[in-house]
């Protein structure tokens, strides 16, 4: 990216920085993620004029792909999955004309045909900047990166840049994450690597920083003096659907907690960055993850819970248990629910537990962060009908119905002193009109602009794995213990309630 400070006409215009023209090279362009998310997001960006007119999309396939047919498939899928991304036929033609294909399986550890195709595109006026998107199974990451390096596609020079976006999972444990990062670092510099965690592209997650740093109200109470505990929930109503093969190898801890929830925790708990520069924010995230109290395998029963869903009903519909799902091993011990209790050993958060939970086949799809404040220090209402006061809760809803609510106590109208909790509610949908951009739109655009703020840096990814590694080890070693179960459509196993009960805490009803 050009240095904006050297361009006086950029002053005050940072948010309007256009994306550099580039060829977005998609590995796995025929896959679910590309068809469901990437192409519709790109169509929205093109519609809104946020991409350079020269930007092109090149899909790399292992098997021969008919370019014309592939374009039609992209348009048809986008129309079905994100109808407003393709408003009319004229736009469909304009958008699909930017899509190209090349067949290259990387034989001999080289992408020679890809390189040739890029040269052809460049010689016919196409951009020389390359943004590579790995939307392929994780086992393919290291060989693909090496093969890109072998033909020089990782090289940035004075006139053009090369960047790579890597989809999660970034490894399946600390060692493999370190190995993947080293493989990537052997070919690309860290400033070229964009590890995408789509949770970070969500509007409400970005709003966490604004909430904390643009308001005088919250930051003074954002510490152990006022916060009792923090609970981060990512619940899904769906089961494993067509992803059983992936999920069997992953499980809830790897799939959600190590990455998404750990990144959200970092945004909530980090210290104020010195600036909004990408590295300043990423430095603070690393520091707070480093401050998460280490624990051993022996501690795991007291700080972690896992479970599998049994048959039940979600939204009135009977659903099978995890072990009856297609593609799941009958004796699988993969957890579909995981909960963790963490502590951050620093000045700000001393003594404040952070509870993280995620699960499939829960009653509804909801992701939220609840900052639960301490009780009032003195119960002045002791001689009145008020027998208990609820704690104040600041809830940051990440999906759906993105917004923020604040729960506090209020007097019921009438002569008697009755108190009831009420909520002040802010919703993006009702306070701001217009369409909320999909997380992938924001992240793709940021990668083209060269802004790494919302992408995970190597150190924070490895810290995330360091934190959960003892849990992974403990769960791998207790292969004979019975795995707790929860009924599909419930909020998880009773063991997860016990995890909080020691401090008289409860999971929020969502």
């Amino acid at each position: 990216m050009s240095d904006s400070t050297a361009n006086p006409f950029r002053s005050g215009m940072l948010m309007e920085h256009p994306a550099d023209p580039c060829v977005l090279i998609i590995f796995g362009g025929t896959g679910d993620l590309a068809q469901r998310k990437l192409f519709p997001s790109l169509a929205h960006l093109v519609r809104e004029g946020r991409l350079s007119e020269q930007t092109q999309f090149l899909c790399v396939s292992r098997k021969p792909l008919d370019e014309h047919g592939f374009r039609a498939e992209v348009i048809a899928n986008a129309r079905q999955l994100a109808p407003d991304s393709i408003p009319d036929e004229t736009f469909a033609q304009k958008f699909s004309a930017r899509i190209f294909t090349v067949t290259d399986a990387g034989e001999g550890g080289r992408f020679d045909r890809l390189k040739t195709r890029l040269t052809e595109l460049a010689s016919s006026g196409g951009p020389r900047n390359h943004l590579i998107y790995l939307s392929i199974p994780p086992t393919g990451y290291a060989p693909t990166i090496a093969a890109l390096g072998a033909v020089g596609l990782s090289a940035s020079d004075a006139g053009a840049w090369s960047r790579i976006i890597i989809e999660k999972p970034f490894g399946r444990d600390y060692a493999s994450a370190e190995a993947l990062n080293s493989a990537a670092a052997a070919v690309f510099k860290e400033e070229q690597i964009y590890r995408i965690d789509h949770y970070l592209g969500k509007e409400t997650v970005q709003n966490i920083l604004v909430l904390r740093l643009a308001n005088t109200l919250f930051e003074p109470i954002w510490n152990h003096h006022y916060v009792d505990h923090v609970a981060i929930t990512a619940a899904e109503a769906l089961g494993v659907e067509e992803r059983a093969q992936y999920y069997e190898e992953s499980g809830a801890l790897r799939d959600m907690i190590q990455n998404h929830l750990m990144q959200i925790l970092a945004m909530i708990a980090m210290e104020r960055p010195a600036s909004l520069a990408a590295e300043a924010i990423r430095d603070e995230k690393r520091k707070v993850l480093e401050s998460v109290r280490p624990f051993t395998e022996q501690d795991v029963p007291n700080i972690a819970v896992r479970a599998q869903y049994a048959a039940g009903a979600v939204a009135g519909k009977a659903v099978p248990g995890y072990l009856e799902e297609q593609g799941v091993k009958p004796n699988s011990r993969t957890e579909t629910y995981a909960a963790l209790k963490l502590h951050i050993d620093n000045w700000r958060w001393s003594g404040v537990p952070f509870y993280l939970r995620t699960g499939k086949r829960m009653p509804k799809r909801v992701t939220e962060v609840a900052i639960v404040f301490r009780k009032v220090p003195h119960m002045v209402f002791a001689q009145s009908p008020v027998d208990r006061l609820e704690q104040n809760v600041l809830a940051i809803r990440i999906q759906p119905n993105e917004g923020i609510s604040l729960k506090f106590e209020a007097k019921l109208p009438g002569h008697a002193l009755h108190v009831r909790p009420v909520e002040m509610d802010f919703r993006y949908g009702s306070s701001f009109g217009g369409r909320l951009s999909d997380a992938y739109e924001r992240l793709l655009l940021d990668a083209m602009i060269g802004d790494q703020t919302l992408f995970a840096r190597r150190d924070s990814v490895e810290e995330g794995w360091r934190i959960v590694q003892p849990v992974l080890n403990a769960w791998a070693h207790d292969a004979n213990d019975a795995l707790p179960q929860y009924v599909a459509g419930s909020w998880g196993p009773s063991e997860a309630d016990v995890l909080l009960a020691a401090r008289n805490h409860r999971w929020r009803k969502l």
Binding site: F9, E16, E53
Partner: protein, 351 residues
Amino acid sequence: MNGVAQVAPPQEVDVAKIEQELELLWREVESADHPVTRATAFNLVLVCQRGAEAETRELVPELALVHPTRTMLVSLDESIPAAQRAWVTAHCRKLEGEQRQICSEAIILEMDGDSALRAASLIHSLSLGSLATAVVWHPSLPLAHPLLANLSRSADRVITCATDHLAPASTLKPWFELYESVPQECVVTDLLWAELSGWRGAIAELFDKCTTVTRLSEVRIHSTGDKLTCGALLCGAWIASSMEWQTTSVALHGRRPVIEFAGEHRLVFSPDGGSAPAGMEFLFSDGTTAAVLRDRDHFTLTCGPHTHAAHVRDVDMLSLLAHELHAWGRDPRLDKSVRLAHDWLPELLFS
């Protein structure tokens, strides 16, 4: 995103009972099948001359899609006997994937004769005090109007549509006066500034690539028409203020206004009688050049041998207004540009 729908045709109500009538309206809306959220992010006051009411009214549901507000559409006709009439309505849109509707209310006011002068007091009483207020002043009304002066004393934001970029530069004079006269707390912009954001973005993009900006010595702004236009003047002022050039002289060379700056920098305006495409040339002290040319749907940016295209954004009134209503802070770039253009204008008009 679903479209927006009016819940019912506007109902005429007693001006003194607008709030009560709105409450009744909401009860009716809420008793319908779908749950309703009454959403108001700020007060939006749209003021126009009676003849422009229909055109302005069309903006209301479209703006409600992007900005849920308490909208007050005020049309004035000072040529007829004093009278006040009011209507209330609401616009709703369904949230994606939900039954819930997000609704925002609109109050339509007709203020005739000298009641137009009292419109401000009615608008103040109907404004939700805890929320900010934006006033949009339609070009059908003069800027030197007592109602605008009165509203701008309490508004947080005033958006005028005083001119367009092709109008003669002289039409900016009353707007500069308004800009200087409103209280510091009130942020004033004209849609012309928003309209120029495309040009400003294209120039910024050009100099992201063209790293010779420190050697920039002369800028030639070609505009259609045979007079210096508002767009050219304000854009020129923005370029000069961005470069921190200090004005040394303002003069006409033939038909061409030329501004000279300390350090041998020049800004040359070339009204080309409509034949040449609108565009700008940038001349550097080392003899190299760059250019930004405007075509129908894109800008062509040229720096030395390199050329590329940049997207042109929508510049219809609705898009510009919707965009401007997102920005509530003072824009220091506009401040500097206005100050400079304001300084140049008397010389240019006098010449």
